[in-house]
Symmetry: C2
Subunit: 206 residues, 2 copies
DNA sequence: TGCCTGAATGACCGATTGGTCACTAGAATG
DNA sequence: CATTCTAGTGACCAATCGGTCATTCAGGCA
């Protein structure tokens, strides 16, 4: 049990874990939240039992997958903030980035959205109410922090962050399933305008 | 098989169907989309087999429940339109009405939102993609018609209707689970302002 | 009263799935 | 080469759930 072997084993384990989460991603992309452990095992090219050598149970596996998926989005969001654009530009880029991210990786879309309701048919009851998806919370929290320093009223920041997040999600919700929708940049601009300027400007001049 | 007996039987059937859908509503309020046929039967005070005398299968039953739930909301929405308020007033009332409706009847909330992803763990695959919830579509369609006659660009109406619908849903998504959130009217006003005027007005004056 | 109809029942079935564990195969060890 | 060890396996298990159907029983009818 030298330092060397520790590292080697750790690397192997990491490789296994990664290939499993990637397989899970493919399985979920195809079957959504209905993906079975068998599906995931097949897609990963290993036996079902092996999954349980690296993950305690289905929950832990799906949680890890969701976590990994969103961390990629978080990185891109962070890039947007790093550019330190003016407020309006930041909003537009945030919208465009999230839209484009899920448009390119529809597999992550199903992970992100269908896992929002954990379990679905399982004993979710009210027990899990206290534990909403942690990863999504990180995303909303990041937006909150931005709004807190960019907006007039700090106390509105959390609500606005959630609003922005859910709004883009709503557009995705419509975009992803259908095939030949409006161009992505078109949708992004439409949504950004709406977010920034509201409905009032669109009222018919009577 | 007189007209009389026809009516009597029809009434009895209707009574049964109603009491089942009400039971289903209670079951779903407690267990969400995970509610079992047994749960529904228990909550309705009848045996599981009896459910299948009045509904073909689980899908038909849940569909009927969801339909009935949303028809009540649609009626209230229609009342708002009937008042023929100016544009801004209509939007505010629409937001407030939907928010209040689900705030008073949280059981309907779970029906409405959790059933959006039909099946969950079942063979949803891509087969059902072609059949999104019909009831919700009616609601969005109604909003679309309003926007078509109230706004400048007719072709934007569907997108705006979906936007409004999902936006309010987003706030509900946050409101319902938590206990002591902001007052309902407060949330409604906040959301309406945002929808009407956008984020721009909230930027910190630099 | 005795029979008959059909609504209601709930034990049962088949299918599915998360999770387990006795077993295997192949590499490491001596 | 023989032995040990362990990552990997997949048949198997228990539990769950939608749906069925032989049976029951209450109420109307002769």
């Amino acid at each position: 049990m030298t330092q060397q072997s520790d590292t080697r084993e750790a690397l192997l384990e990491r490789f296994r874990v990664d290939s499993i989460t990637e397989g899970a991603l493919r399985a979920i992309a195809r079957k959504g939240a209905a993906a079975t452990m068998q599906d995931i095992a097949d897609e990963s090219g290993i036996a079902k039992g092996t999954l349980y050598l690296y993950f305690k149970d289905r929950d832990e596996l799906l949680h890890r997958v969701s976590e990994g998926a969103l961390s990629q989005l978080l990185a891109k969001i962070e890039d947007v903030f790093a550019r330190a654009l003016p407020f309006e530009g930041t909003i537009r880029e945030l919208v465009l980035t999230k839209l484009r991210f899920f448009d390119e990786r529809r597999d992550l879309y199903r992970v992100h959205f269908e896992l929002r309701f954990p379990g679905g048919r399982d004993p979710l009851c009210d027990a899990r109410k206290a534990a909403p998806p942690k990863e999504k919370q990180m995303y909303v929290d990041r937006l909150t922090r931005y709004f807190e320093e960019a907006l007039e009223n700090k106390e509105d920041a959390p609500r606005l962050a959630l609003f922005l997040s859910e709004t883009v999600a709503a557009v995705l919700f419509r975009r992803i399933p259908e095939q030949g929708g409006p161009k992505l940049e078109n949708d992004a601009e439409f949504l950004s305008d709406l977010l920034l300027n509201g409905l009032s400007g669109r009222r018919k001049k009577s």
